[in-house]
Amino acid sequence: MPDGAAARPLVEVRNLRMYFPITAGVFRRKIGDVKAVDNVTFTIMEGETLGLVGESGCGKSTCGRAILRLYEPTSGSVLIGGQDIVALKPRALRDLRPRMQMVFQDPQASLNPRMTVASIIAEPLLEHTSMTAAQRQTRVHELMDQVGLNRAFADRYPHAFSGGQRQRIGIARALALNPRFIVCDEPIAALDVSIQAQVVNLLEELQDSLGLTYLFISHDLSMVRHIADRVAVMYLGQIAELSPREPLFARPLHPYTQALLSAVPEHDPDLEANRRRIILKGDVPSPANPPLGCNFCTRCPRVMEICRRIEPVLTEVEPGRHVACHLYPQPDSGRANGAPTRGQ
């Protein structure tokens, strides 16, 4: 995988907010918002894989879909290759679709059961190119070879395939138009472990050969550790920590990341015996009514008085490492609140 030094940013997400209105009563009056994604900012370099992790319901998938504008974001901007896709008109957006594609979580649900594999993979070609039927078929066969599917099965229907094969169909469809950026929305969550490895390896091979950029959404920390160059940890719609992979897994800064990583079992039985889990108390607050101040303040083992009042900002505390926590110096105050960056 390429080093980030010379790479240009391909995807820039700025202050992305995705609120879903809550309505009530006969007249569907709006009484509040579910803040599924709340002020998220990050950048993905060209050829890079950014892992997006967090527990269920923290807004990972919503974030991925809002970035591709499958939902209309409430505010913020998403620049892909320098163009703000949030502001685009539907027509112009459609022309940009070939650049960005998505691989979905549930390969069963993401393939139309009434279409053959060939027509599923050919759909993007049909929509965006003026290929003849014969050219499309050639391209479909090419793509099937690329993702390791047997060409002979092109006229079969999705139900005749296993989960791993279905996910390959989904990947082939995403690749059809030579995209530069692919959002992988938990592409392996619905597969069993042996197939997970195959699919992840396939994604990595494709990245190397085609120079793809991934946003890899997952709740599987070990898989993210394997595939991602940088990792963003989300909690309750916000990014808690954004770091390159190695330092993050070696020395997590945010208390939430520390708790999350302490849940990953070690391969080595000696280390596993000494592993100290940080058990968080309580439940995730409702995204419709997040706490004042830091979103994590209700469950943080190292909570301070300031956390309940002021919302921390995602700040670069070490080269390349961003964290939103009052334990580390915040930009506006310019001073460390409480404990400075001690070795964890």
Partner: protein, 309 residues
Amino acid sequence: MTEAPTDTLSGRVAAAEAARSPWRDVWDQFRHHRGAMFGVWVLGLILLVVLAGPWIWHLDPTKSDILARNKPASWAHPLGSDHLGRDLLARMMAGGRISLAVGVTAMVLSILLGTLIGALSGYFRKIDTLLMRITDLFLALPLLPLLLLMMTLFRDPLAKTFGPEGGIFILIVGGIALTSWMHTARIVRGEVLVVKEREFVLAARSIGTPPHRIITRHILPNVLSPVMVSATLGIASAIITESALSFLGLGFPPDFPTWGRLLFDAMERIQLYPWQVILPGIAISLTVLSVNYIGNGLRDALDPRIRGR
């Protein structure tokens, strides 16, 4: 990759697959559906008798013979004769043409209208309320008075343009379609609301497929089954509605036989001459039943998940 079979096997599979088109698969599955094949044969038989019968059986369905009234079956009148001495076999054949034509055409129109409105209403949230209130409005209207009103208002202008029979056919078919699409629309809307939340529709949107093609390519094929059921039932109710209109004297002219008209003409003498009622009743029931079975078979055959079982 462990999932792919060996090369020789795949080669053989490919050779076998190449010979099969998707429609061939549909037909193979359909053929093995016993009910559907029964339906095809019965409907085929009815159509054959109704369409080709008058070439063999030359009696005029409207010619009355006052001396041969209400006769039971005989060589001269294989199905007997009615209260004006008209031959029932000839009347059944002539009536079948009209009834089937009205039933099928009205059903097709009503399904098209219902599916269109249901799909638009389910897919586009903005017009959902408007379209569904219109649907409710139509459901709340008393249909028969509405039809009667339409008949009185439009019968003459239409008859002038398309001739008396063509005009009344268009009027009846249009009237039945306009007053029977609501249930289909509601069913389709409900199904569309479910299907449009499935991930493959999201996938199509991420590809950039425009809404009208999402509806035709992804949503409609997946709401086919309830539409099929609705369609087969629609034929029956269209035939019945037409007979009700004829009964009220607002359908086809009185000397113009349809199955519904035969049924109602004979109703008052049901205790004396029951076969005069039973015959058109059987014809209507058989048609409806066979269409229903064909619809079932077609629904199963068009679903790739069921196919091949």
